[in-house]
């Protein structure tokens, strides 16, 4: 489509030209920031493009589990089980606390504005401190253990779930809470008979999502706090036993896909 040879009115042509100029300005803005960022970090797009095929072909020849890796499978699975437990525990425990805070923070059920602001601010601070930072902080006081990983995942999940639960309660419970309030139900009755039944399926769905996220984060937290499957990977990786490390990766992939599948099919049934 050539704009300049058509018989369009002049204003229309100018409109398109302005639009194109705007587009190119935005594009060059992005390119300038990208160039600056590359300089600052030492990133090079050419290096990246050269690295990808090299690493991918390396992966296909080296990241294949060998006999030794299979012998190590029981130990890997044991650590994997710890990691799954850690993710479930942190998600469920965080959900219990998050439900309490969500009741305080939700427009529908807040007792007063002070608690609402307090709850939302606490959740926001929790959520915006990255899980890596939580892990490093707890590493100092609790040492190198699964419990440290649990705490890191717990605090990051708590912030996220509180916000999700507040939105869920506001979306699903307003009308039923109002109905109960109108007939003179007390606060605990409103929570037990209106909020719980109407918001529960959606909240469980959020907990399942949190478990999925935490399984992935648990690997990272494990690397940092020396626990679970992340620690196993780190041991094999640092001792250059890539074939055993690939076994760890494969088991993680299987677990992540399996948990996604389970939680999707559960979600379909409860929602």
């Amino acid at each position: 489509m050539n704009l300049y040879s058509t018989s369009l009115p002049k204003e229309t042509v100018w409109y398109f030209i302005r639009k194109r100029i705007g587009f190119f300005l935005v594009l060059s803005g992005f390119i300038i920031i990208a160039a600056g960022s590359s300089r600052l970090t030492g990133f090079s797009l050419i290096d990246a493009f050269q690295a990808i095929p090299r690493v991918v072909s390396w992966m296909f020849s080296n990241l294949i589990p060998d006999k030794r890796a299979f012998e190590r499978l029981p130990r890997i699975l044991e650590k994997l089980w710890d990691t799954i437990l850690m993710s479930v525990m942190s998600s469920v425990t965080a959900a219990v606390f998050a439900f309490g805070f969500a009741l305080l923070g939700s427009v529908t059920t807040k007792p007063n504005n002070f608690f609402a602001v307090f709850s939302r601010a606490t959740a926001s601070i929790n959520r915006n401190i990255p899980v890596a930072a939580w892990a490093m902080i707890f590493l100092l006081t609790f040492g190198q253990s699964s419990f440290t990983g649990f705490l890191a995942l717990f605090f990051a999940s708590f912030g996220f779930l509180t916000r999700a639960f507040i939105e869920t309660i506001d979306e699903t419970s307003i009308s039923s809470v109002e109905a109960l309030r109108a007939v003179g139900a007390g606060y605990s009755q409103q929570v037990m008979q209106a909020v719980m039944p109407s918001a529960m399926p959606q909240m469980i769905s959020w907990v399942l999502y949190m478990i999925e996220v935490n399984i992935r984060s648990a690997t990272l937290v494990g690397l940092l706090t020396g626990s679970g499957i992340g620690f196993m990977f780190s041991i094999y990786y640092k001792s250059l036993q890539y074939k055993s490390a690939s076994m760890v990766i494969l088991t993680i992939v299987v677990v992540v896909l399996l948990i996604e599948y389970i939680s999707n099919s559960v979600r379909r049934r409860i929602l």
């Binding site: 797009l45 930072a133 902080i137 419990f147 039944p197």
Partner: protein, 304 residues
């Protein structure tokens, strides 16, 4: 979701339930639907695993109550008297507070730059894949193949991708950006292709009928109608990538503020510096959350 809401409100006291009986003057709603049964079983399983987990978790012999008290004390120190050690940020010992702050900002800038680069790289790839994966623009086979590959890529945690690429490219920005781009592609491809799929089928049909080819349809109909949602999703991913970049600095040698955090917590045991770094990260993350919330409200009022 709407079916869930209506089911919920009905059970809670909207319409009169069909199966109820009166016992001791109370109305007892005793209808157990399959959905409720599933809900209860899932709850029971989750609670069981959690309790089992608490009974068996490895604490490495830490004195838990004492550690909790210590943690609270540390948090107090972190938030009330944060400060950075000049030499940890590449400054001479005699440097004042403000120059050290500036060099910490520069280190924070490295983390932001990593997040920006991986969002941009991942976004461009996701745009192409998103077009190929949108059901209204291609056939089901291509769409399903791409979605399958991306599901696999997403199943490997980012930190492992970064470490795998570090073997070939060395620890640093190249490995970090490639690794972080992978999950960015997975996330954004889904978001983009869903926003492409929202486009009215009639528009595509009309263009096709007037003889427009695939690129015309993309650039004249698909892109203009979804550009705002594309930009806001990309920003949301940028926000996520900032936290990921902090983590990669700490766990995968990507540099930036995450690496400083790793050093002060893992080697210097300097709780005041951890506080300084955490507060800097927190301020940036809060700022981005505010912007993202505004964008979300503007462009995706019905998004989760």
């Amino acid at each position: 979701m709407s079916s869930m809401i209506s089911a919920g409100t009905t059970a809670a006291g909207g319409a009169i339930p069909q199966h109820h009986h009166v016992r001791k003057g109370r109305i007892v709603i005793s209808k157990v639907t399959p959905a409720k049964l599933w809900l209860r079983s899932v709850l029971a399983v989750l609670v069981f695993f959690t309790l089992y987990g608490f009974l068996t978790i490895d604490t490495a012999g830490a004195d838990l109550p004492a550690s909790f008290v210590q943690t609270v004390r540390y948090f107090w120190i972190m938030f009330t008297s944060p400060r950075a050690v000049a030499s940890h940020f590449g400054m001479s010992q005699s440097a004042g507070g403000f120059p050290v702050f500036l060099s910490a900002v520069k280190v924070l800038g490295i983390t932001l730059a990593l997040a920006f680069l991986s969002t941009l790289t991942g976004g461009v790839v996701a745009l192409v894949l998103g077009l190929l994966a949108a059901r209204n623009l291609t056939n089901d086979r291509i769409s399903n193949t791409i979605k399958g590959i991306v599901a696999f890529i997403r199943a490997v945690p980012t930190v492992l991708w970064v470490l795998i690429f570090a073997i070939g490219a060395g620890l640093g920005a190249v490995a970090a950006v490639i690794g972080m781009s992978f999950h960015t592609v997975g996330h954004l491809m889904k978001a983009y292709s869903e926003s492409f799929e929202e486009l009215d089928e009639g528009v595509i049909e009309a263009l096709r009928a007037s003889g427009a080819k695939w690129p015309h349809i993309i650039f004249q109909a698909v892109m203009p109608s979804s550009i705002t949602s594309i930009l806001s999703w990309t920003f949301i991913r940028f926000e996520i990538n900032f936290a990921v970049a902090v983590a990669m600095g700490a766990a995968a040698g990507a540099g930036g503020i995450g690496f400083n955090l790793f050093m002060s917590a893992g080697y210097f045991f300097d709780i005041r510096e951890i506080g300084y770094i955490t507060l800097m990260i927190l301020v940036v993350a809060l700022l981005m959350e505010v912007i993202a919330a505004r964008l979300k409200k503007h462009y995706q009022p019905d998004a989760l």
